[in-house]
């Protein structure tokens, strides 16, 4: 279940953005990804989540293990909080949404339509989705956007509980979550401008 990345090269739009990236993520461990805007954090997470193929390198231990949270939460405005969460619980084959509701204090909102929630409440619902996936490796892309201080604390507590239960987390963020986590700055791995490496991918599309 350990995630192992060896010599990974990821590309966005056919252009390599990160190369020579290697790290491992063991159960119970959290890794914070840092780097300026456009440095390839989102591309790295999308590649690890299996949404796009890497240009080179090896990824081990991601098969059916990853719960991915992107910038957008995948919520349906016309469904209630309960319906949104139950849908994802059903897709991932998990029976219970109550712990997820409690972890992000969503119980008072349970019958509200997701379209009527505030941005921070939507984000909390999106993060609660991670708890109903039952997957051991969380990949979170800027999870604290539009969260207030209390909600960030709730989120940090949820991540800590997940780590204690043997899970792992890979988090791209700019703020300090107060987690006991290693930090990986992706800036040194920025790809040198070799445009040809990714060009073949585009040519065949």
């Amino acid at each position: 279940m350990t995630l192992m990345i060896r010599d990974l090269c990821v590309a966005r739009g056919g252009l390599p953005v990160l190369q020579g990236l290697s790290f491992t993520l063991a159960p119970g461990q959290a890794l914070i990804l840092r780097g300026p805007n456009g440095s390839g954090k989102t591309t790295l997470l999308r590649t690890l989540a299996g949404l796009q193929p890497p240009l080179a390198g090896q990824i081990d231990g991601t098969e059916e293990q990853i719960a991915y949270a992107a910038h957008s939460d995948g919520l349906k405005a016309m469904l209630s909080v309960r319906e949104n969460l139950t849908f994802w619980a059903d897709v991932f084959g998990q029976p219970d949404i109550v712990p997820a509701l409690d972890a992000f204090a969503l119980r008072p909102l349970i019958d509200r339509l997701a379209g009527t929630l505030s941005a921070g409440q939507k984000r909390r619902l999106g993060l609660a989705r991670m708890l109903v996936t039952g997957r051991p490796i969380w990949m979170l892309d800027e999870p604290t956007v539009s969260l207030d201080v209390d909600a960030v604390a709730q989120f940090a507590a949820a991540v800590r509980a997940h780590l204690r239960a043997g899970g792992a987390a890979l988090i791209a963020t700019h703020i300090d979550l107060g987690l006991e986590a290693d930090v990986l700055d992706v800036t040194p791995f920025r790809a040198t401008q070799d445009t040809r490496a990714g060009a073949s991918d585009e040519a065949f599309l």
């Binding site: 999308r46 989540a49 299996g50 949404l51 796009q52 193929p53 059916e64 990853i66 719960a67 991915y68 992107a70 910038h71 957008s72 939460d73 995948g74 919520l75 349906k76 405005a77 016309m78 469904l79 319906e83 139950t86 849908f87 994802w88 059903d90 897709v91 991932f92 084959g93 989705r129 996936t133 599309l205």
Partner: protein, 218 residues
């Protein structure tokens, strides 16, 4: 899979879901055609099968660009692609939901609208049967078109152009079944061709749709 089907049906009938859009369009087309053609009941009954099939096809096309675009915009497609559900299955379920909310109402409404077009009595059964067999193919092919153009801004036009040629065989054989049925000829051969087209695309298209969507999600 049933969770996705239930969610899609629920979304379709809630406010803004677009349920009834295709049906309303179908209704408008078939109600307006007699006004446009004029009061010639014999001409009307001759063109009725073709008009009904064309109306059903265009009604299907109208609702296609919502099929995946909404899930793309709110990020649901990315999350579905990382879920345990294979994309092929997810897209088949979405095509099924589209058929239930768009194709099936058209099948049920067609006999009523046939009266407006003076469809001969012998044609009703064959019309309903041909639509019942043909509209699933329209939904499945349409899902492929939607998967190809997902993420393209204003992709509806591009999708229509891509999908229309793929719809032609279904239209030819579907309308032929209804026409032969209405004129008392033997409709079995085009009926078998229509059923073959539907069975074929239902078996093959989800794989093509999933492959197209994977490329578009990168």
């Amino acid at each position: 899979m049933t969770a996705l089907l239930r969610r899609d049906l629920k979304l379709a009938i809630r406010a803004g879901g677009g349920f009834g859009l295709g049906l309303a369009f179908f209704l408008i087309v078939t109600v307006l055609v007699p006004f446009g053609v004029g009061p010639q009941s014999e001409l009307l009954s001759r063109i009725a099968p073709g008009i009904l099939w064309l109306g059903a096809l265009l009604a299907c096309l109208l609702s296609l660009d919502r099929l995946l675009a909404l899930d793309w915009e709110d990020g649901t497609l990315d999350l579905l692609a990382t879920s345990p559900l294979p994309l092929e299955a997810a897209l088949s379920v979405k095509a099924l939901a589209h058929w239930i909310t768009t194709g099936l109402p058209l099948v049920l409404a067609a006999p009523v609208l046939g009266i407006l077009l003076n469809l001969p009595a012998a044609g009703y059964g064959w019309l309903v049967l041909s639509l019942l067999l043909g509209t699933p193919a329209l939904s499945v092919i349409g899902t492929f078109g939607a998967a190809l153009t997902v993420g393209v801004k204003r992709g509806g036009l591009l999708m229509s152009l891509l999908v229309l040629p793929l719809y032609v065989p279904t239209l030819i054989f579907g309308a032929e079944v209804a026409r032969r049925g209405a004129t008392g000829m033997d409709p079995v051969t085009p009926l078998l061709m229509l059923a073959g087209i539907s069975a074929g695309v239902i078996a093959i298209m989800p794989f093509a749709s999933a492959a197209a969507l994977r490329v578009n999600l990168r």
